[in-house]
C-alpha cells in the first residue's frame, strides 16, 4: 500500500498548539513526520527593543503563560549580568521559591493535559483540581494567579513574611501527599501504562544528537539540568536530585515530571527553612551600561536562555530568547518514525507530541524564511507582509 500524507494542525482538536505535523502513514503506522512552525510569531523580541528594561520585564513574563516567572527571571539575570551587581541573598531564595512553585504548577498542568490526551479525563480533572492549591498559593504570594510580576532588576518585588511562608508549607504538605498518590496511580493504572509504555521512544544517543533539553532529555537518561550544572539563584545551597529515567518513552517523561514535582516540593520547603533575613532588593540605575549578558535557567520544559545586548541607554539594543520547546521540537519526527520493532500508531501521535510539553507561543520567533528545496533564504519586511496578507 502506498504512503499517505495526513496533515495534523495548525488547528486540530487533538493538538492544542498551533503547529503543523505532516504524518506519512502506511496503513495504521506512521513511517515519518515533518513539522512546520511559524503560526504564532508575535514579534516580542522586536517589541522589547522599543521598551525600557523595566517594561520588558512584563513583556518577558508574557512570553509564556505557564512559566512566566522563568522568563522574567532570565531577563533580570541577563540584565544584572551587564550591570554587575550582587543581589541580596534573601532575594535569591525568594526567586528560587517562585521558580519552583512555577515548576510544580506547570508539571501538574502537563500531567492533566497528558491524561486528557490519552483519554483519561478523570485523572485530568483531579490533577487540575489539586493544581488549584498551588495556584492559590502563588496568588497569595505574588498577587496574581498567572502573571506574577515578581521579579525586578536587582531583586524581587515581594517579600515572603512568616505567615505566608507557613501557608506555603501547609499547601506543600498537602500536595506532597497528592502527588505521591498520582505517582502510584500512574504506575499501577493499567490504562495509562498501555497507552504510554513503549510509545514515543527517543534513544539516549538521539536525545544528545538532537540537543533535547529538560524532562525530554532526562527521560532518555541524559542527566542535564541547568540548576545542577550551572547553579544560579539559591540552587547551589539547596541539595536536590536530578531525576533521570532510562526507558526513553512517554512513561519515563511522565515519571520524570512527577518525580521532579516531588523534588520541587522539597526544594521549596528547604528554601523556606534556610531563607536568610535581610533586604529583598537593591536599587539599580535605569540606564544599563554598554555590554552583553546572558541569563539561563531550567524552566519546567527545559533550558531557557535570554541574551541581552545593551548600548548604554534605557532600552536594550537586542534581546534574544531561546525557549526550550525549540530545542525539543526536533526530537518529534524521530519519535514519530517507525523503525524495526518500534511501531508508531496514528492514535499515539497526540500523546507523543504532548510528551515534550510543547509551548509554541514561547517558541515561534521565525525571522528567516528558507526554501528547503532550493536552499534560498530571505527575510520579509513588515510592509511586504502587509502587502501580501492584509486585506482592507
Amino acid at each position: 500500500m502506498s504512503v499517505v500524507d495526513i496533515p495534523i494542525g495548525p488547528q486540530h482538536p487533538a493538538i492544542k498548539e498551533p503547529l503543523n505535523i505532516t504524518c506519512y502513514v502506511d496503513g495504521e503506522h506512521v513511517v515519518g513526520a515533518k513539522l512546520r512552525i511559524g503560526y504564532n510569531h508575535r514579534g516580542i523580541e522586536k517589541a522589547g527593543e522599543y521598551q525600557t528594561y523595566i517594561q520588558n520585564l512584563y513583556i518577558a513574563e508574557r512570553i509564556c503563560g505557564i512559566c512566566g516567572i522563568v522568563h522574567a527571571f532570565c531577563l533580570t539575570q541577563a540584565t544584572e549580568d551587564i550591570i554587575g551587581k550582587e543581589i541580596p541573598k534573601r532575594a535569591d531564595y525568594i526567586r528560587t521559591i517562585g521558580l519552583e512553585l512555577n515548576r510544580i504548577h506547570s508539571h501538574l498542568l502537563w500531567l492533566g493535559v497528558a491524561a486528557h490526551e490519552i483519554g483519561f479525563d478523570t485523572l485530568f480533572m483531579y490533577v487540575w483540581r489539586d493544581r488549584e492549591m498551588v495556584m492559590d498559593v502563588i496568588e497569595d504570594f505574588t498577587g496574581n494567579r498567572v502573571t506574577y510580576a515578581l521579579m525586578t532588576i536587582g531583586g524581587v518585588r515581594r517579600d515572603i513574611p512568616q505567615e505566608k511562608a507557613e501557608r506555603i508549607l501547609k499547601v506543600m504538605d498537602l500536595l506532597d501527599e497528592k502527588v505521591r498518590k498520582y505517582k502510584k496511580m500512574c504506575l499501577d493504572e493499567r490504562t495509562i501504562r498501555m497507552r504510554c509504555d513503549g510509545v514515543g521512544i527517543l534513544r539516549k544517543e538521539d536525545a544528545i544528537a538532537l540537543c533535547a533539553v529538560g524532562p525530554t532529555a532526562r527521560a532518555s537518561g541524559v542527566p542535564f539540568d541547568v540548576r545542577a550544572d550551572d547553579p544560579h539563584a539559591a540552587y547551589d545551597e539547596i541539595p536536590f536530585r536530578v531525576v533521570t529515567y532510562d526507558t526513553c518513552d512517554v512513561t519515563a517523561r511522565l515519571l520524570v515530571r512527577i518525580d521532579e514535582t516531588l523534588e520541587s516540593i522539597s526544594i521549596v520547603r528547604e528554601a523556606i527553612k534556610r531563607m536568610p533575613s535581610g533586604p529583598v532588593r537593591i536599587r539599580v540605575p535605569r540606564v544599563v551600561p554598554t555590554g552583553e549578558g546572558v541569563g539561563r535557567t531550567e524552566a519546567p520544559r527545559g533550558e531557557v536562555i535570554h541574551y541581552v545586548r545593551a548600548n548604554g541607554t534605557e532600552r536594550p539594543f537586542r534581546w534574544k530568547v531561546r525557549a526550550p520547546t525549540l530545542a525539543n521540537l526536533l526530537s518529534i519526527p524521530v519519535m514519530l518514525t517507525s523503525r524495526g520493532d518500534y511501531v508508531v500508531n496514528i492514535a499515539d501521535v497526540p500523546i507523543t507530541f504532548a510528551s515534550i510539553d510543547p509551548c509554541l507561543s514561547c517558541t515561534d520567533r521565525a525571522i528567516r524564511f528558507i526554501d528547503v528545496s532550493s536552499g534560498k533564504s530571505w527575510v520579509w519586511t513588515f510592509s511586504q507582509i502587509k502587502r501580501m496578507y492584509w486585506r482592507d
Binding site: 521598551q51 525600557t52 523595566i54 517594561q55 520588558n56 520585564l57 512584563y58 513583556i59 478523570t122 485523572l123 483531579y126 483540581r129 488549584e132 496568588e139 497569595d140 498577587g143 496574581n144 502573571t147 510580576a149 525586578t152 518585588r157 515581594r158 498518590k181 502510584k184 496511580m185 499501577d188 493504572e189 493499567r190
Partner: protein, 116 residues
C-alpha cells in the same frame, strides 16, 4: 484500577468550583486589582506614565496647569509597576476585580477624580 477509590470518595465531596455570580472568591489582601489614584497626593511627576508597560497611563494637563495621569482601565495589565514607581505613594491596587463593562468610556479614569 486504583482510581476507583478516589472516584467514590470524590462523589461525596463538596464541589471544587464556585457558582460564580452568587458565590464570590476571596482574594488575598495584597491582590493586584483595579488601580486607584489619589489625585490629592499626586504631584504629576510622570514616572508612572514612563514605566507603564501597557501605556495605560497618560499625562494630561489640567486647566489649572497641573499635570496628572489619566488611567485607561481597559489597557491595564495590573502589574503594579506604577505603584512601585510612584515617589509619593499616590497609587494603590485594590481588591476589586469585576471590571468587565459594555461601555469603554466608563473605563477611563479622569484626573478630576470622576470616572465617566
Amino acid at each position: 484500577m486504583p482510581i476507583f477509590g478516589d472516584v467514590l470518595k470524590t462523589a461525596f465531596q463538596k464541589r471544587a468550583t464556585l457558582l460564580y455570580p452568587f458565590e464570590k472568591r476571596d482574594v488575598p489582601s495584597d491582590y493586584r486589582g483595579k488601580v486607584e489614584i489619589d489625585y490629592n497626593r499626586c504631584v504629576g511627576c510622570g514616572l508612572c506614565v514612563k514605566d507603564c508597560p501597557a501605556a495605560a497611563l497618560e499625562l494630561v494637563t489640567l486647566p489649572s496647569g497641573n499635570k496628572k495621569p489619566r488611567y485607561y482601565l481597559a489597557r491595564c495589565t495590573f502589574c503594579s509597576q506604577c505603584v512601585e514607581s510612584c515617589p509619593r505613594k499616590a497609587i494603590k491596587m485594590t481588591q476589586f476585580y469585576e471590571l468587565a463593562s459594555y461601555n469603554r468610556r466608563i473605563e477611563v479614569v479622569e484626573p478630576c477624580g470622576i470616572s465617566y
